[in-house]
Symmetry: C2
Subunit: 344 residues, 2 copies
């Protein structure tokens, strides 16, 4: 009979620093029986169960752990709200309204009643911001602060925007600018400098992220999108994920770099391409759209107060390139990954 410490630590080679999150998910999936007629296959942003009449129960779970997801400077209220945003963002990418949220908390033994209140208020604020409600949950003792949420919604099966529908010729679009969180994290983690005028914007992008729910719902209604994902692992990674799931390649011809990021990169002698493509903790949507439906998609997003920028197109050739001013380079499939990433 094995004892816990031996079981859990029995091979202290720290192998999963090499394994990485995606490999671990692969290992676990390989051990699972697959539900017959599963409406959304493993590896998309949400899961679903068929509830009849063309409707799906859409489900999502994602966990915030303080040591990897809560940078210095983020309050407990903001951390709890962020846990909601992380989950809602995946619903946004699929075009599904979040209705109800359950929360499972792991709480370190030194939190005070006031801290717990702050967590409760942050969770509620996040949920109400997206018109959802927290309807249940539980608490547990843990070494880290762990906020594990499950989100529930209902969607028409044919309205879901999956990762897998992009076709060569489709336009690629994003709902906002990139690089602010990379820059903000460098300010918070490495004390890099930024002029007062842009410092707040960059830091706020980390502490107060927003899910593009309005945009996602509008685009789903417009039926113009062929594939969709959020950019929580960074723009490059998101584009590669759509490429893989849809069996296409991409030619990106516009870098959607935020203007504050251009200034920040110049001042700190950083590569703005790196900040834009290989960040993470960003919650813009990355979408592919049929060219003839572009106007319709743009209008739908504009009507809810959002924006849609074309940044390139899907290609039959299965590689992901960046082409700016006639210069072509490869966009690498790297981005934000737990276990492998530099710790925040």
């Amino acid at each position: 009979m094995l004892y816990k410490k031996e079981v859990i630590g029995r091979n202290a080679m720290k192998l999963n620093e090499k394994l990485g999150e995606r490999k671990m998910i692969e290992i676990i999936q390989s051990r699972l029986d697959v539900m017959p007629k599963m409406p959304i296959s493993f590896g998309d942003d949400v899961s679903a169960h068929d509830i009849g009449n063309g409707n799906l129960a859409v489900l999502k779970t994602d966990m915030l752990v303080d040591k990897t997801d809560v940078p210095p400077g983020m309050s407990l209220w903001q951390a709890a709200r962020k846990a909601v945003v992380m989950n809602v963002s995946d619903f946004a990418a699929k075009g599904v309204k979040p209705l109800a949220i359950l929360v499972s908390l792991g709480l370190p033994g030194n939190l005070t009643g006031k801290d717990i209140e702050e967590i409760g208020e942050g969770l509620n604020a996040g949920a109400r911001e997206y018109n959802a409600y927290i309807i249940g949950g539980d608490t547990n003792e843990a070494s880290d602060l762990v906020i594990s949420l499950s989100v529930f919604g209902i969607a028409k099966k044919n309205m879901l925007m999956l990762r897998s529908g992009a076709k060569p010729g489709d336009l690629v679009a994003v709902t906002g600018f990139f690089g602010t969180t990379s820059a903000g994290l460098k300010i918070l983690l490495d004390n890099l400098e930024a002029p007062q005028k842009i410092r707040g914007t960059l830091i706020d992008s980390v502490l107060m992220p927003y899910a593009r729910l309005k945009e996602g719902l509008a685009l789903s209604q417009a039926k113009a999108v062929t594939a969709s994902i959020d950019s929580s692992d960074g723009l490059a990674w998101s584009v590669h994920e759509i490429a893989k799931a849809s069996n296409v390649g991409f030619l990106i011809n516009t870098l959607p770099t935020a203007k504050e990021v251009k200034t920040f990169a110049r001042i700190n002698k950083l590569d703005q391409l790196e900040l834009t493509l290989y960040g993470g903790e960003e919650y813009e949507l990355v979408l592919t759209i049929k060219p003839k439906l572009w106007k319709k998609a743009e209008k739908a997003v504009k009507e809810v107060g959002g924006k849609l920028f074309p940044i390139g197109k899907a290609t039959a050739k299965k590689q992901v390139f960046l082409e700016i001013d006639g210069k072509r380079s490869i966009i690498e499939p790297r981005g934000w990954e737990h276990f492998k990433k530099v710790k925040v």
Copy 2:
């Protein structure tokens, strides 16, 4: 701007060792907007969202954390399976079939690929044991092994067995014997002795718990149950929870002590009443049943291979008593609680 360590540890009084899990849940609930027409109120074993036509989407989330939920001697496979059982048990108590499960994992950095396989296999085994499937999830780095599950099912609103329906005069029943996990934990944690003949049974009750799903579903179908709860916090606590939710009291006149526990208590000079009433990590159902429907309930459970034992009755007087051989004593509202309990 507050920094994380200061935020999380800013009042290192370890207040929540005094707060306790239930107080923390109360604090969080007090911060939440309540969903209008919420079909199941806070504090029951599952949550629900109305999906029309008298149907509810039933949702549950519960987290296993190694340091409080995984005793020495439990393998990773067993821990992962137990995480499923914990959640399914609450569905069993409500009479709802679990259909799909999502898993959010917090994994310490020293787990190997083999360890992850074992976790995947344990999750799958647990899900398939109750005819459910794992349909999605994610992994994260954490200091503890954290297995946070979300379970989804569908139920007719009028078939749910809530905590709140017990009426004075209803019989109280349980689906099995108690005390084996308390005894098993004393063997695993404190090295107490047990004869070979019963040792395996006691230890297995801890390492390989079973959810009473068949029984719960059969009882829901029989429409004989007025209130129901599982006994994961111990028999005494469960009875008190029904008492509180239903606004009744109880007179318990039979202690459902497992025969192995009687032997174990005698050998180790322990109080068998204490082992039976104030344990935890048990997954029997505790139910109240209309006297005239007792036979029907008993038959329904027997038909699925289960058992139902009467142990007392609900009373108008709002206290919980034990009366054995004419001697009456108070059953205290204590049991298994994270943060307050002696660590396993």
